[in-house]
Symmetry: C2
Subunit: 91 residues, 2 copies
């Protein structure tokens, strides 16, 4: 069995938190039925950034970077869907 360095354990916990953190935000948006408190630009920039992290993970062949950012991207797309629905309803 290989031992993980303590720095890598901290990195994995960090990645788990910054990925799963989106779940309560999705819950708030679904419960309040609006994403008006979220910046569309925030969601857009984050989605492009996370997509590039996904490409980066593929290029350096890091499964954990791909999985973590793939999950974050799905969360951001869900939030973006509600944001677009908001904007459409207000026009």
């Amino acid at each position: 069995m290989s031992m993980l360095k303590s720095s890598e354990i901290i990195g994995l916990i960090a990645g788990f938190l910054t990925t799963s953190g989106y779940i309560p935000q999705i819950y708030v948006v679904i419960k309040s039925k609006t994403a008006s408190g979220l910046s569309g630009l925030f969601l857009s920039i984050m989605s492009v950034g996370i997509s590039l992290w996904l490409v980066y993970g593929a290029l350096i062949k890091s499964l954990s970077i791909m999985v973590a950012n793939g999950f974050s991207l799905i969360c951001l797309l869900v939030l973006g869907f509600y944001k677009i629905k908001d904007i459409t309803n207000n026009h």
Copy 2:
């Protein structure tokens, strides 16, 4: 002059975007004078996660990880400040 690998350039752009993405969100919160659309749990989990990325960056001595996550943490603390003000005002 050393050449950066294309994967590292993509990683740096990704890092720049997922860091600066918080700025329009701060703008929306300040303009609307409320962070009610943001999940407090989202902000808390993200802050802890980003803090751990900061520790990770220090442990592996990566200045770019430290700078990027240090900046994100400041943004999250600003958003958290408005969230706490919201909660305090509603009690």
